[in-house]
Amino acid sequence: MANAQAAHHHYFVPESSKWPIIATISIFTMFVGGALTLNDSGVGPEVLGAGFILFVYMLFGWFGEVIRESEKGIYGQWEDTSFRMGMMWFIFSEVMFFAAFFGALFYARVLSVPWLSGAGAEATTHAVLWPEFLADWPLLKLPSDYGFSEAKDVIGAWGVPALNTAILLASGGTVTWAHWGLQKNNRGQLILGLAMTVALGAIFVFMQAEEYSHAYHELGLTMSTGIYGATFFLLTGFHGFHVTMGTVMLAVILARSIRGHFKPKHHFAFEAVAWYWHFVDVVWIGLFIFVYWI
């Protein structure tokens, strides 16, 4: 498949590639380093760091190769459809990952916390375990503080979280505006829209970090403040991690746009990142409603 012409008749099957095995080795190294770190055994952080460096090298190498192939015009409609399906179902798998944590939140809030205070048929549980315990949400007063600390308060919905909601929704608008620019071949609008989206993403992450600092230092709300702190930090933390990844991805797309990549009718990478961005947006709406608001 040396020439682009052939790609329109044959599905593009790439030649052997070293990147997947490097990806595997780098992630394996990070897992070993992470496990050693958690077990407090000496060299853990160094191994973790080495794995991370190899991982970043792999990202540049693998994505670099794909971008070069794309710019050579090797990918036609047929290949694009595979990429679209790949990205779509990858995002769906991410949805299910978040579903596990939302499930934990709903289960605790609707079922297990009320059961601990004797709801349903659980009067004995309540009497035997912690008769003083009263169900409440957000749960500040824990059944027992053994191994846990208690938060003074939780983060209200209508301060920074509401502002962050507006920021993320606006960023969903700016990325769509950038997409319109790309489709009309208005490169200025494309680049400006992407730059605004990256900036809004970065502002979101920064404000979220500030909010975490406020929670830890002033409210005493930490990961170890019982089930509320656990669900709060894991849900918002994984979301924040995804926003960070999404911002990096958008920045790559911005850099590629500045270099003149993408055509009005051929820009899968842009769309994939835009889909991902809308996905983190939707997850945030769920978080805002169920974690912060009601």
Binding site: H10, A23, L38, S82, W89, P143
Partner: protein
């Protein structure tokens, strides 16, 4: 039968050779072979662990290993067999067969395909190295229930990360299969002409994508509970250990069907071939598989009837569970109806498939018994459960894997396997596996708990019988290995069609097929749906 449309291209010339060929390959057949070889290795690793278990249970009392190590063996046996042997074997079959069955040049995302495979040896290095860590390998059961699993020693984070890694491999593989089937079918290969193995695999792929990330979430919560002070599974902090069981089994029940659905597909390919008759009720087979997959998401709590759920929960999960008998029954009756008044021959793949239908159905019936809540109260966590899931997984999934291996081995290698040895392997396996697992029903009904290294003396006789069956079954599998090695090294030349009654695109290719099969799609006329 070699089709004129088969396009030989000669890109193979500049492929790396030696180990680098295998490390960097993007070819679906190379990757399929690696999956299958890896799976076979894990089958013997997990099998060796099972031998330790049966050796210790040969007699009452503690004879050979200490209880901690025994518990590690039950835990690791399950993890290795589920994630290392059965799941990679299905992906290996998918890699080899799906592109050939649908007339595609390769898998849709070949580099991702390489990545999906090569994760596995590394993930299992993470898991198996825990055998040598302080505190030993995980011993809290493959279900990883807290709080017990949180007492795991240095192995704990390795266990969690190994599960994450295997999960990434499964999800990537599933995405690839979906993209391949929906985007790379040859013109004329409509969805309702797909071989059932392809259908059952698409459905499996959706199950994987929807359930594996939930497992990743569950084990992540375990990790933060142990190392970062979260209270997901601690009642003292307002959490609930039972919540883990809900999240785990939301993954775990679809996982059961991930292990068995491709088996349905393989048996649906083999029975019509040796019955020389189209599959009875093709479309009902597709709808039944899809119904089973849907139901698998709303029955998870039947694994935890005894934890103290509200009555409404017990009833809902019981009724939903029993409902699965309907589509499963459709499948079993269809297989039987396919064989009805047909001209059957009994080569090794057919023998394993018929044994599958009979023995899997026994496992299905014991599953119905376990699905009835009040009855489960007595059977829960006994050897009856062990007997049940080994009937569906060994005489179900593993027998179908063996059937499929014998069925397609001539296509893969270009040589016929040794039929005498194959049939010997079949009869030794089928007799010994029943000696191994059938008495475990009696043990369970009599009250013997599972996951224990020692037991009361009234259970001694049947345990000894079960262990003897286990040793014969274990040794018989060396014969399976011998047949495969012998066939790979040589033997009578296989024809393109291999089996007289074989239908489908893969049989139009030479045996062994060229490195790239359908670089240009096959002519629509060759796609007749065959026996499907």
């Amino acid at each position: 039968m070699s089709d004129a449309a088969v396009h030989h291209d000669h890109h193979d010339a500049h492929h790396p050779t030696g180990i680098m060929r295998w490390l960097t390959t993007t070819n679906h057949k190379d990757i399929g072979t690696m999956y299958l070889v890896f799976s076979l290795m894990m089958f013997f690793v997990g099998g060796a662990m099972a031998m330790v278990i049966r050796l210790e249970l040969f007699q009452p009392g503690l004879q050979w290993v200490d209880p901690q190590f025994f518990n590690s063996m039950t835990t690791m046996h399950a993890l290795v067999m589920i994630f290392g042997a059965v799941m990679p074997a299905w992906t290996g079959f998918a890699n080899w067969m799906i592109p050939m069955m649908i007339g595609a040049p390769d898998m849709a995302l070949p580099r991702l395909n390489n990545w999906s495979f090569w994760i596995l040896p590394f993930a299992f290095t993470l898991l198996l190295m825990t055998l040598f860590l302080p505190g030993g390998a995980p011993a809290g059961g493959w279900t990883m229930y807290p709080p017990l699993v949180l007492q795991t020693g240095a192995a704990f984070p390795f266990l969690i990360f190994a599960v994450h890694f295997m999960g990434a491999s499964s999800v990537a593989g599933a995405i690839n299969i979906i993209a391949t089937v929906f985007n790379l079918r040859a013109p004329g290969m409509t969805l309702m002409k797909l071989p059932l193995f392809v259908w059952t695999w698409i459905i499996t792929a959706f199950l994987l994508i929807a359930s594996i990330p939930v497992l990743a979430g569950a084990v992540t919560m375990l990790l933060t509970d142990k190392f970062f002070g979260t209270a997901f599974f601690s009642a003292a902090g307002g959490g609930d250990p039972v919540m883990f069981q809900h999240i785990f089994w939301f993954f775990g029940h679809p996982e059961v069907y991930i292990l068995i659905l491709p088996a349905f597909g393989i048996v649906s390919a083999i029975i019509p071939t040796f019955a020389r008759k189209p599959l009875f009720g093709y479309s009902s087979m597709v709808y039944a598989a899809a119904s089973i997959a849907f139901l698998s998401f709303i029955v998870w709590a039947h694994h935890m009837f005894t934890v103290g759920m509200p009555l409404a929960g017990e009833l809902f999960f019981m009724y939903a569970t029993i409902l699965i008998a309907v589509p499963t029954g459709v499948k079993v009756f269809n297989w039987v109806a396919t064989m009805w008044q047909s001209s059957m021959t009994f080569e090794t793949p057919m023998l394993f498939s018929i044994a599958f239908v009979v023995l899997f159905t026994i496992g299905g019936f014991s599953g119905l018994m376990l699905g009835i809540t009040p009855v489960d109260f007595q059977y829960h966590d006994t050897y009856f459960v062990v007997a049940h899931f080994h009937y569906v997984l060994v005489t179900g999934a593993i027998f179908a894997l063996m059937a499929g291996t014998y069925f397609w081995l001539p296509k893969w290698t270009g040589h016929m396997y040794d039929e005498t040895l194959g049939q010997l392997h079949f009869w030794l396996s089928t007799i010994s596996v029943n000696v191994l697992f059938f008495p475990q029903h009696f043990l369970g009904l009599a009250g013997m708990p599972r996951r224990i290294p020692d037991y009361a003396v009234q259970f001694a006789d049947w345990n000894m019988v079960s262990s003897l069956g286990g040793f014969v079954f274990g040794v018989s599998q060396l014969l399976f290995l011998a047949v495969i090695v012998k066939c790979a090294r040589g033997g009578a030349k296989a024809r393109d069609q291999v089996w007289e009654g074989a239908r489908g695109l893969e049989w139009t290719l030479p045996s062994p097929p060229p490195y790239h099969s359908f670089s240009t799609p096959p002519a629509p006329a060759t796609i007749d749906g065959g026996y499907r």
